[in-house]
């Protein structure tokens, strides 16, 4: 069983699994978002987690002081996700019945004083958080490690936990892309959301039914492309950034077979059986064409579709194109991951001469 879980935890399998689970969750949120389901899930999960914790290797990973925040994240995310689904389910049911959302009922719309209702409770939260951090710092002491040695890097060398998702992306993308371009797009995209999304529905209340696209898209990016990758980066990547199952011993000498090939090499050598062209642009022509199609043609085509037309009608051309560009940026990650797993594809465009690898 443990062997099987180790096997399934490999991103090749667990990523699609997570995606499927995500789809199921969003589709059946009315069932998931009930108290009954929550209790049932807890009743099933607790023994499983206990059984997991009985394993030495698993315990070694989760009890590593650096990894404590990730444990907390998992619990918090689980709870918050369920809670929002629960509220969404409640509201959507009311909306279907033609009632207003709970948040919009007259007693919930009543205004209260900032002081003491807000400021006082905020103060309490501040105190609570301080206490929490103090106790944490006492119980899990910051380790005193060996003096920095430039010739002896730690292995695995891991980024701070909140960047582990980005570090995981490095497996699939050129450092320039995973380290600069994609994080840039993420930050800019998040900042741009209020300006792109002018739909007033869902303001101040939980709902999925009224905002299907926004919810599906954002939650996928958040849960699967960010949180899931952090978990993988934290728990399942060991020495040499090699994948280790949750019950696997971090054997320093583990060897994995990975040999990746560029798209241009596929095209010229495997399919056309020709030498690689000298001209680097010609060499990478297929990748360039595909990328141009992906970035330039797809938005235009999608704008002509019924779905696109509807969004354009609601928000306008510019907002639509920015939106679609961000969406494509996001989906490029799973696309690249799948290509890597299926074809050992290294880069779609490999132009190390220009430091441009996609």
């Amino acid at each position: 069983m443990k062997e099987f879980i180790n096997y399934m935890a490999d991103p090749i399998r667990s990523f699609p699994l997570m995606t499927i689970m995500y789809i199921l969750m969003m589709k059946y949120y009315r069932i998931i978002g009930t108290k009954k389901f929550a209790v049932g899930a807890l009743a099933v999960l607790l023994p499983i987690v206990t059984w997991f914790c009985l394993d030495d290797n698993f315990r070694a990973i989760i009890m590593w002081p650096d990894n404590i925040p990730i444990n907390i994240i998992i619990i918090l995310i689980g709870w918050l996700t369920w809670y929002s689904l629960y509220r969404c389910a409640q509201n959507d049911e009311r909306i279907e019945r033609g009632e207003c959302p709970i948040e919009a009922t007259p007693e919930n719309r009543e205004k209260v004083w900032t002081w003491p209702n807000l400021v006082y409770t905020e103060l309490m939260c501040m105190i609570g958080v301080v206490v929490f951090l103090v106790v944490w710092a006492i119980v899990f002491k910051a380790p005193l490690e060996e003096p920095a040695n430039p010739t002896w890097a730690p292995n695995p060398a891991k980024a701070p936990w909140y960047f582990l998702g980005l570090q995981e992306m490095l497996v699939y993308f050129d450092p320039w892309m995973a380290g600069v371009v994609l994080p840039g797009i993420i930050v800019v995209g998040l900042m741009a959301i209020p300006y792109i999304d002018t739909n007033p529905k869902g303001n101040g209340y939980f709902t999925i039914k009224e905002r299907p696209l926004a919810m599906w898209m954002f939650m996928y990016g958040w849960l699967v492309l960010w949180i899931y990758l952090i978990i993988v980066g934290t728990f399942l990547r060991g020495p040499n950034w090699t994948f280790y199952g949750p019950f696997e011993f971090w054997d320093f000498h583990k060897v994995v077979s990975e040999y990746n090939v560029n798209l241009s090499e596929f095209m010229w050598i495997k399919w056309l059986n020709m030498p690689m062209p000298q001209n680097i642009v010609v060499r990478e022509i297929l990748g360039i064409i595909l990328t141009v199609i992906y970035v330039c043609v797809l938005p235009v085509l999608s704008a002509k579709s019924k779905w696109g037309q509807k969004i354009i009608a609601n928000t306008g051309q510019i907002r639509y194109y920015i939106f679609i560009f961000l969406l494509l940026g996001m989906t490029s990650l799973p696309i690249k991951m799948v290509l890597r797993w299926l074809f050992s594809l290294k880069y779609i465009i490999a132009l190390p001469e220009w430091e441009l690898n996609l």
């Binding site: 919930n108 006082y120 409770t121 920095a148 320093f252």
Partner: protein
């Protein structure tokens, strides 16, 4: 919302206040926790415990002191004091009067002091003013001068007055003390009896936990001047490598190891125990005082960390200890510490990084054992270790092997040396854990055949110079035991002695008859080893032809019949060709390799494989083989193996090996091929480190020696720098170790393995060399090393003649001189100058002490049992003779030479006025005068020619 609140309010304020109070309380508590967590440190408890131990010890000392104090005497004294006090009170009237006078005087003195002080100031100020006025030609200068004169006169008067007053004061005080003298005297006596107790009591009181102690060590206040605090040693001479810079080493071990440098705590449990080798280490008077060398310089670990038991990287010596520590201190293996603490019993590894240039260190038992084993097993031959480059190859030369052993013997020996001789130092390469499979064996057999053919083809011709003419086995056996062969060779017929000596320089003598193919070779070798191999260290024992024949008869009579019956499989040509193809195809295709093979004759192929196999297994590292001169040794360098990161040690799939440097090294030494377990390697990549069948003890001692080979660079100020004497000694010791002088001779208390055989009578064994540089004259010693002659004819063990170069002999002479720190030559007068009557006295003494009863040679016809005194003149230093005569037993404990001048008393009170020194001097002069003026009997002959 079920509950209605006031308008504008979402919560009930009372409830909010309660929650707020709760949070505030929790915050307060966690703040207190922060301070407690910061305040409570494990080492504080240890120091409090140490205080208790010390207090108890002082209490015991006080109790012991109480017993010493004689109660009766104290009582008498106290009574005396009482009487004296009564006497004083009788004269109280006088005393009051005197005291009254004294008070008046003191008042006058005080008054005069003020006057005197003022005048002094006035004079100085006036002098300054007047000198200024005078030099500037001011008109008022003469007035000032007058004033100055007046003040000076007054000052002189005042000074005089002062002297008178002081004189008076002295007188009165003396009178008072005269009256009280009895009282003071008795009080002093009482104090001298109780003094020690008082001091101890003071020390005891200091250890009490008083309110002041509590305040000084209270939280918040303990930054001011705590008594319980971290104690540290900062060592500017020894640095820690922090990669970007070297910082002075800081050791805080003494924070918990409280009494490590103090005597008297040997029985305390750790950490309060005294250092077990206080004389050598840690102790302030030893060679390595704590303040100069710290702790982790030798022990390894992180000495600056005192957070808890784990932080300094304490390392348990065994699994049991690890379990015990885990229970007691929550111990776990240290993470990310470059050099963890050396385990108990391995601390001597720490000697290595500072003590460079010497092989054996006095006092470092385990390390010396390990270094001896490195020499014994010849590790240095295949693995470069800095400081071992001067060593000769541990195996015998194979340059003339064809004349010594048969091919059949050679093959069987290479295949399995231990089958012939279980003490063989030659390790086993074949039929091991990783190459025992049939397919491997076939190839190995082909390789051994090829090696044999190759080595024999390279072998030069050799013809023995002497013929064996038959000898007596029993006599030969006796000679082998008596001559001293066993200082270098173990002998199968003398297992107990062999074990005692544990000789390793030469081969273990067993089954020689099965090994040596020619009797003539054997007898020639014994007679003159350098005839066969010029650079051999096997010396000539100046054997007579009969002796050589006897020993040959004895040695060759021992046969290993089981080994003789072994047949070695002939070369499998297919296997040979297959191996050659893999060699050739390293950089070429198999096609080309096969073509290359086809172009070679069968003989050429065998030679090619032989040469490549010698290279593959590194035979040339230990044996001289023609064609391999100057090739780098085969193994990886071990100079810095003690700092090699643990991750770079290949543990393979051996999970039961302890995951530490020393765990790996010990496991590797005991079973070097184990790392191939569970792997599927091609034949050419199988591990090749041979198996030495090493005992765990040997492996562990070598581990200690290797663990010390760290890359830490200790600054020049910190390392042991040999002084000019020690440097010469180190250089000389290389020669002494090379020729195994130390196998026979004990040098100033170290070495002398062969003496273990002569436990019953140490005087029957090879002479012990104590202060040898001071004992013998340099020119004689240099002559002797090249012209050995018999000094002690009664000894059966024989000093052999070594084939040394002049440089080597010089180094040996210098070694002993510098060890004794004496000049090269001592003043030796050709003509002895006698004082009046001295010579007569010397002769009388010589007769009276009956020196010739033992030193018979050239005086009587008796069998001598002590060296010939006639040769003392050129051999011994007069100053040493004097020292020797005065106390022979102090130089050589257990010597047969009697001490005639016990404790500096004269041997005969009637001679030379009973002055021991004069008597010794006279005798020494006599020896100097009567002695021969040549080095040895043979020297006389050569000189007279």
């Amino acid at each position: 919302m079920a509950k209605k609140h006031e308008p504008g309010m979402a919560y009930d304020m009372n409830k909010l206040h309660k929650v707020f109070a709760f949070f505030s309380l929790v915050l307060l508590m966690s703040t207190v926790w922060v301070f407690l967590d910061d305040y409570i440190r494990p080492w504080k408890a240890v120091q409090i415990e140490a205080m208790k131990i010390e207090k108890q010890k002082i209490a015991e000392e006080i109790a012991a002191e109480e017993k010493v104090i004689s109660k009766e005497k104290l009582e008498i004294l106290e009574k005396q004091l009482k009487d004296a006090n009564q006497n004083v009170s009788k004269r109280s009237k006088d005393l009051t009067e005197l005291n009254g006078k004294l008070q008046v005087l003191l008042r006058d003195i005080k008054d005069e002091t003020i006057v005197n002080g003022r005048l002094n100031g006035d004079v100085a100020a006036l002098t300054f003013k007047w000198e200024g006025a005078l030099s500037h030609g001011a008109s008022y200068a003469p007035d000032l001068f007058k004033k100055l004169k007046k003040n000076k006169a007054l000052f002189a008067i005042s000074k005089d007055k002062m002297k008178t007053l002081k004189g008076k004061e002295k007188k009165i005080r003396r009178k008072i003390s005269d009256i009280k003298s009895d009282v003071t005297k008795t009080e002093k006596e009482i104090a001298s009896i109780l003094g020690k107790r008082k001091l101890l009591q003071g020390a005891f009181d200091k250890k009490k936990i008083t309110p002041i102690f509590a305040i000084r060590n209270a939280p918040f206040l303990d930054f001011l001047d705590p008594t319980v605090k971290i104690k540290q040693i900062v060592l500017p001479n020894i640095t820690d490598d922090r990669y970007f810079q070297h910082v002075p080493k800081v050791d805080r071990c003494i924070t918990c190891h409280t009494f490590i440098d103090q005597k008297g705590y040997e029985d305390q449990p750790n950490p309060h125990k005294t250092h077990p080798k206080l004389d050598l280490m840690v102790g302030a008077t030893g060679k390595h005082p704590m303040k100069q060398f710290g702790c982790t310089s030798c022990h390894g670990g992180e000495g600056h960390r005192v957070t808890d038991f784990n932080s300094p990287a304490h390392t348990p010596a065994s699994k049991e200890q690890a379990a015990e520590w885990a229970k007691k201190y929550n111990w776990h293996a240290p993470h990310k510490v470059p050099i963890v603490q050396f385990k108990q019993g391995m601390a001597e590894a720490g000697c290595v990084k500072c003590h460079e240039g010497v092989q054996y260190l006095p006092g470092a038992t385990v390390l010396n054992e390990g270094r001896r084993n490195i020499e014994k097993f010849g590790c240095y031959a295949c693995h470069k270790i800095e400081g071992w480059e001067h060593k000769r190859k541990p195996g015998p030369s194979l340059e003339k092997i064809a004349s010594k052993v048969s091919k059949k013997f050679f093959k069987n020996w290479v295949w399995d040396p231990k089958a012939f001789n279980k003490h063989a130092k030659m390790p086993s390469f074949f039929n091991q854990m990783n190459n025992g499979k049939l397919e491997h064996q076939v190839k190995n057999i082909a390789e051994v055949n090829a090696i044999t053919e190759f080595v024999y083809a390279q072998s030069e011709k050799y013809k023995p110079f002497m013929r064996y003419t038959g000898g007596n086995k029993a006599r030969g056996k006796g000679l082998v035991k008596e001559l001293g062969c066993m200082s270098c060779h173990g002998v199968a017929d003398f297992p107990i002695e062999s074990k005692k000596v544990d000789a390793f320089k030469g081969p273990f003598l067993t089954g020689i008859g099965s090994k040596i193919k020619s009797k003539d070779w054997m007898v020639s070798w014994l007679k003159k080893p350098s005839h066969y191999q010029e650079d051999t260290i096997m010396p000539s024992f100046r054997l007579s032809d009969r002796e050589a024949n006897d020993i040959t008869a004895y040695l060759l009579s021992s046969k290993n019949e089981k080994f003789d019956k072994l047949n070695f499989e002939p070369m499998n040509e297919k296997a040979r060709d297959e191996i050659l193809v893999t060699y050739f195809s390293a950089f070429d295709t198999i096609e080309v390799a096969k073509k290359k093979l086809a172009s070679m004759t069968s003989h050429e192929r065998t030679m090619e494989l032989g040469k490549r196999s010698v290279g593959k297994y590194g035979c040339y590292s230990c044996h001289s083989i023609k064609g391999f001169e100057g090739r780098a040794p085969i193994g990886p360098e071990l100079t810095k193996v003690g700092s090699k990161p643990l991750t770079q040690f290949g543990f393979g799939h051996e999970y039961d090996v302890e995951h530490s440097r020393d765990g790996w090294i010990t496991a590797h030494l005991q079973s070097p091929r184990r790392w191939d377990n569970g792997t599927d390697r091609p034949f050419k990549d199988l591990l090749r480190m041979p198996n030495f069948d090493m005992s765990e003890k040997d492996a562990k001692s070598i581990t200690v020696a290797l663990l010390g080979q760290v890359s830490d660079s200790v600054p020049l100020k910190g390392v042991k720098r040999l002084n000019k004497h020690e440097a010469v000694v180190a250089e000389g010791m290389k020669v002494a170790v090379k020729f195994n002088c130390i196998g026979c001779h004990q040098i100033d208390g170290m070495f002398g393995d062969l003496l273990n055989v002569y436990e019953d009578d140490v005087n029957e064994g090879p002479p012990r060399l104590v202060g040898q540089g001071h004992r013998v004259q340099a020119d004689w010693f240099h002559y002797f090393l090249n012209n050995v002659y018999e000094i002690r004819p009664w000894l059966k063990v024989r000093m052999p003649s070594f084939n040394m170069t002049n440089e080597e002999r010089n180094k040996l002479v210098a070694l002993f001189q510098n060890k004794s720190e004496v000049n090269t030559f001592e003043e030796v007068h050709q003509v002895v100058a006698w004082e009046r009557g001295e010579k007569r006295a010397a002769k009388k003494l010589f007769k009276q002490l009956d020196c010739v009863s033992c030193h018979a040679a050239e005086y009587t016809n008796d069998e001598p049992t002590a060296p010939n005194l006639k040769y003392a003149r050129r051999r011994l230093r007069p100053s040493w003779i004097e020292k020797w005569l005065a106390a022979p037993d102090q130089i050589l404990p257990g010597t047969t030479m009697p001490s005639f001048w016990m404790d500096g008393e004269a041997a005969d009170p009637d001679i030379l006025g009973g002055d021991a020194k004069k008597q010794i001097k006279a005798l020494t002069k006599l020896l100097m005068e009567e002695g021969h003026n040549f080095y040895s009997p043979k020297h006389k002959k050569t000189r007279s020619k």
